[in-house]
Symmetry: C2
Subunit: 313 residues, 2 copies
């Protein structure tokens, strides 16, 4: 199965949930045992952090791989630690693929012409993990530079059975500054959405979803419902559930009637569940993986109860 949405939807059906786990390692919050082990092996701060990130993410993958269809490593947290961090990111992506997970590299890249193509070739491995050096199934992409700059990503994605998620409506408080500006009655994000849905329509697989998706924040439930209607062929990646404040009810509008069409991301709420109630009370610090597992189960149940994704169960 070569097409990105077909592979993603198969994974969603197989795991019976659209829950997406972000891999957002933050050094100050890592389990003590992982930090100590990394410190025992390495001397420079960057190497210590990179080794700790790798181990933390490997163990996150071991916990969540049986439960969810996909993971989303955040490139920034790895890049912050230089080449050592980049190597850790590469290994984390590889490990997640080997664990059968669909991997979305959240790097929000975007550039013109041959430069955009270099990013696309770098990250989009799609169906064949050997075809790109950062062997992700999918990459997040920023559309500001113009619709022509999406084409190199679309071309490589289609060739390799990979996907991209284009930023349409983001989850941050100031998302509207530019994205909500109206021209002839239509916001910028609606305009980007129209471009993205055309690309999706032109890249459908066996199902009616394209290989080109959209990022739409859970923190704006009305826009999410509106965009699901405006973009019938576009798979949605929905950040903002959990730590950013959105609940399962807020993301219900992201799904189609079958419970497909969206994956809902939680990063901090899963990675660092042990730091928060009810898990903080329930588990000892060294039982952080059990907290991750419990938080993932709770998220899956929450989405099943309050959204059409319940039909997958």
């Amino acid at each position: 199965m070569h097409h990105f949405s077909d592979r993603l939807n198969a994974a969603i059906r197989s795991k019976k949930t659209p829950a997406l786990v972000g891999l957002d390692p933050r050094f100050d919050w890592l389990p003590e045992e992982i930090v100590s082990a990394a410190e025992a092996k390495h001397s420079s701060k960057a190497e210590i952090v990179a080794a700790a990130f790798e181990e933390f993410c490997f163990r996150m993958i071991d916990v969540v791989a049986p439960l969810v269809p996909a993971v989303k490593p955040q490139a920034a947290f790895f890049e912050e630690w230089g080449p050592a961090g980049c190597l850790a990111l590469q290994r984390v992506i590889k490990r997640a693929r080997e664990a059968g997970l669909v991997v979305i590299c959240d790097a929000k890249r975007g550039d013109i012409g041959s430069t955009a193509e270099a990013y696309a070739r770098a990250y989009l491995a799609g169906a064949d993990p050997e075809s790109a050096i950062w062997a992700a199934d999918c990459l997040t992409v920023n559309p500001y530079l113009g619709s022509d700059t999406l084409q190199p990503f679309v071309k490589v994605a289609v060739e390799r059975g990979a996907g991209i998620y284009v930023l349409v409506r983001t989850s941050n408080p100031g998302a509207g500054t530019f994205q909500d500006r109206k021209t002839d009655g239509h916001t910028l994000y609606e305009c980007v959405a129209a471009v993205v849905n055309d690309l999706a329509l032109n890249t459908t697989g066996n199902g009616h979803y394209g290989a080109i998706g959209a990022v739409v924040g859970a923190t704006y439930p009305e826009e999410l419902t509106q965009l699901r209607e405006l973009m019938p062929h576009t798979p949605l990646l929905v950040p903002g559930y959990g730590s950013q404040g959105a609940g399962a009810g807020d993301v219900a509008g992201a799904f189609d009637a079958e419970g497909l069409g969206a994956i809902i991301n939680s990063s901090r709420g899963i990675n660092f569940a042990i730091r928060k109630e009810p898990y903080f009370e329930k588990f000892a610090p060294e039982e952080w993986e059990q907290a991750v597992e419990a938080a993932t189960h709770d998220m899956i149940a929450d989405l099943a109860e309050h959204t059409p994704a319940g039909k997958l169960q």
Copy 2:
């Protein structure tokens, strides 16, 4: 001298030119001797390419450091080769700093909150090269996610004496798709420009330019002139001269009356001058560094003749 624009302007005055050389290594176009040497030392393709990129850029730096104030490595070309490429980028930035050049890392990053801060901490070393792992003076940033997402970059830039250039009007043919959309008579790029100029005004150094700049393409001369007027406190980074088709006359409007306020980038036209007339005719393939030097001198003379930058001479 801690402030980004003050340091950049001092470098521009010292070299008497606003010419900015992009470092855009492309493996298929590298000099044969550099490729052979890299192949002799390494076995994997990624390591060969990364080693060749590093050597090529080191030698580019040796040629252009006495002539221009700044260089702009393009992150995508390095990232394409994975962790080995990232290590080469880190070394190239370090080498350029040591050669006295202002280094603008062209990575077009952008994300929300703590993720944006991770990118800022990763790239913005500013006045102290030890303060960031990719020790650039400056980073290019994408504004699509909203004005709140620029704040973490501004904060770190100001703390470290670094700068950012925010994408305002890009140089690609489809730049207008989203950037030209008008709301209440004003385009999106004008709206972004107003936000950026406010940030610039709040971050001025000894001169009247801020630490926050704007990317404005040379391929749209009218918009360039308009934006110079709309953004009096904003240093401009102008891509599109040379291989993308713009001439010196097209960028004249980017400067203030003293010949400051803008740096003009050429990448391919300098890096691979030997592949093009008049340098192809004039130099043997192994004289590629002489071609780079000649092309840089020609660009400097062209800018001096046709723009207010002539006043720097």
